[in-house]
């Protein structure tokens, strides 16, 4: 089969590799009908997240049709159309039973290594380093789905691939980011980063009834998409984020702040972001946390910081004293995808939201490596790439 294979930093190729096979009675194999490039794939593309190996198949946003099931799989049958969440869930462990699917205790097959690095292992993820199990990703023609009975989202016939695909990651990720804020009708929610997850967080905050939602980015195409949903926008290259947010909140700052940027914050005119860039290039710091610093500074006392943006390792100069004295609450984590997807599927079916709005580019799988460059460099006003194997 054809698959997008990671060969090293910024080196992804469309290779021909052996088809996946059932390895465990709980497995299923799907024929991938649609997949997408996620913003967090770019962290792997740039090799900022450790433990990728040459030959790994990348991709964790995918859906398709079941073509084969293991002997222990009874809830799925050939021909079923499903979205695959990026987190692999056993559905039986303590964390899965609590709904903390991204912390599944059984799906990470490299648990010993992950225990050493994280203290306690997190769930297995598709196409996202050997620290999360080293599973093959879904930017491919076929995918093996471990623990298939727990690791799928049924797709109603009424939804197209374009409407359903993002149930596997970015829609529930944006949703969880907003839910973690416990949004009240009086809240101002500030969202840093108007990429795909940011766009979903903006719409989730609006659906959940925030008084005002503010989107912060520098790219006009992203800001126009944010405005389309009813967000107030701040171009951080044109104006001070802190001053504008204080103006919008009578000097008090937003109650809720969401970081949809993560470890590759753009180097702005701020000295700290330039220092981060130098330190990251010289391996003195793994992540560039400018957004975290700015959120801590501008957030209203007793506010909430929600962090769906991916961080990979060590961050420097975090003003923790400021956070402590302001009594801020931090909520973060990989998304517990399946905790939200039944509700979100209903909301798509009812027409509250149509996540396909975010797709700006569609290409064949073979064109995927080139689309990584397009997405990375924000060429051609690219916000979200959907790939068709």
């Amino acid at each position: 089969m054809k698959a997008l294979v990671w060969h090293g930093k910024q080196d992804i190729r469309c290779d021909t590799i052996p088809d996946p096979e059932i390895e465990d009675p709980k497995d299923a194999i799907i024929k991938v009908t649609s997949c997408a490039i996620c913003g967090s794939d770019l962290h792997l593309f740039h090799n900022y997240i450790p433990a990728m190996m040459p030959g790994d198949v990348i991709g964790h946003e995918m859906m398709g049709e079941v073509v084969e099931t293991g002997s222990d799989v009874s809830k799925l049958k050939k021909g079923d159309r499903i979205v695959i969440p990026f987190t692999i869930n056993c559905d039986e462990c303590d964390q899965c039973r609590r709904g903390n699917y991204s912390l599944c205790e059984r799906s990470n097959r490299n648990k010993a290594m992950a225990d050493k690095v994280f203290g306690h292992a997190t769930a297995g993820l598709f196409g996202y380093t050997h620290l999360t199990g080293g599973y093959q990703g879904g930017q491919a023609e076929y995918l093996r789905v471990p623990f298939a009975e727990g690791t799928h989202i049924p797709v109603p016939d009424s939804l197209t691939d374009e409407q359903a695909l993002f149930l596997g990651d970015i829609f529930p990720t944006g949703w969880q980011a907003a839910v973690q804020c416990d949004i009240q009708p009086t809240d101002t929610v500030a969202i840093w980063g108007a990429g795909p997850v940011g766009q979903m967080a903006i719409r989730s905050a609006i659906l959940l009834g925030a008084k005002q939602v503010v989107a912060i980015d520098r790219l006009p195409e992203r800001l126009s998409m944010a405005e389309a949903a009813g967000a107030i926008t701040i171009n951080f290259e044109d104006e001070s984020v802190v001053e504008r947010l204080n103006d919008l909140t009578q000097g008090k700052g937003p109650e809720k702040c969401i970081d949809c940027v993560g470890l590759e914050a753009h180097a702005t005119g701020h000295i700290d972001s330039m220092m981060d860039r130098v330190k990251q290039a010289t391996m003195m710091e793994s992540d560039r946390p400018h957004v975290l610093r700015e959120m801590i500074y501008v957030c209203r006392g007793a506010g909430v910081l929600s962090i769906p943006g991916v961080y990979g390792g060590l961050v420097d100069k975090i003003p923790f004293g400021m956070a402590m004295n302001k009594g801020l609450t931090f909520r973060m984590g990989q998304t517990h995808v399946r905790r939200w997807t039944k509700d979100l599927t209903r909301r798509i079916e009812e027409g509250q939201i149509d996540p396909s709005f975010v797709i700006t580019h569609t290409a064949r799988l073979e064109e995927g490596p080139g689309m990584y460059r397009t997405f990375e460099q924000k060429n051609d006003s690219c916000i979200k790439v959907m790939l068709k194997p």
């Binding site: 190729r13 009708p185 389309a228 949903a229 939201i353 149509d354 709005f357 073979e366 051609d380 690219c382």
Partner: protein, 189 residues
């Protein structure tokens, strides 16, 4: 299409172009050369007729290491242009070496001059190619997506449409009751 853009050799099934690979090679070369200039400036100086200029060579070494690290980052184009500028400085310094020293040193300086001339050409073509790649692939920027609300019923109708959602207990943080008001204004305790 100019000579620089022909070096890009962009293929949709590969994310790295030939130019990217050459830029990385130049980055590693920069690191190696920089290290040599910092660790053994005396030896290099004697060989090239630049005796007494060890401090200058060490400074050049620092410059090379900086350019090397930058060239190996995900935005190598400015680093390769910086290398072109550095090459010109190096050529000037080596030309000075041609005027002094013995025959052997002048011969070495001439060989080094020719080598740096060759590297300068590679640097220049790579820098031009990286810049061409950036320009040619840019496409239409700033496209207007203001017709993409994502709300089939309209943005106004969407606001608060999911208020039926019950926030799980572990994510609740806001007091249910509104804070008490005194004389219409909130007052600190």
């Amino acid at each position: 299409m100019n000579i620089a853009s022909t070096l890009v050799t962009s293929r949709p099934d590969r994310s790295l172009t030939l130019t990217d690979r050459v830029a990385r090679g130049l980055g590693w070369f920069s690191l190696g050369l920089g290290l040599a200039e910092i660790v053994a400036p005396g030896k290099l100086g004697r060989a090239l007729g630049l005796e007494g200029k060890e401090t200058l060579l060490r400074a050049y070494g620092g410059r090379e290491i900086g350019a090397g690290i930058w060239a190996l980052s995900d935005t190598p184009a400015p680093a390769i242009w910086a290398r072109v500028a550095g090459d010109i400085v190096d050529l000037g310094t080596l030309a000075a070496g041609l005027r002094g020293g013995d025959d052997s040193q002048r011969r070495n300086a001439f060989i080094a001059l020719a080598a740096v001339g060759g590297i300068t050409l590679v640097d220049l073509l790579t820098a031009m190619s990286l810049s061409a790649e950036t320009t040619e692939n840019k496409g239409e920027t700033g496209r207007d997506y203001s017709d993409r609300s994502g709300f089939p019923g309209g943005a106004d109708k969407a606001r608060g449409a999911a208020r039926d959602f019950k926030t799980p207990a572990e994510y609740r943080s806001t007091p249910v009751e509104e804070p008490k008001r005194v004389s219409g204004e909130l007052e600190p305790a």
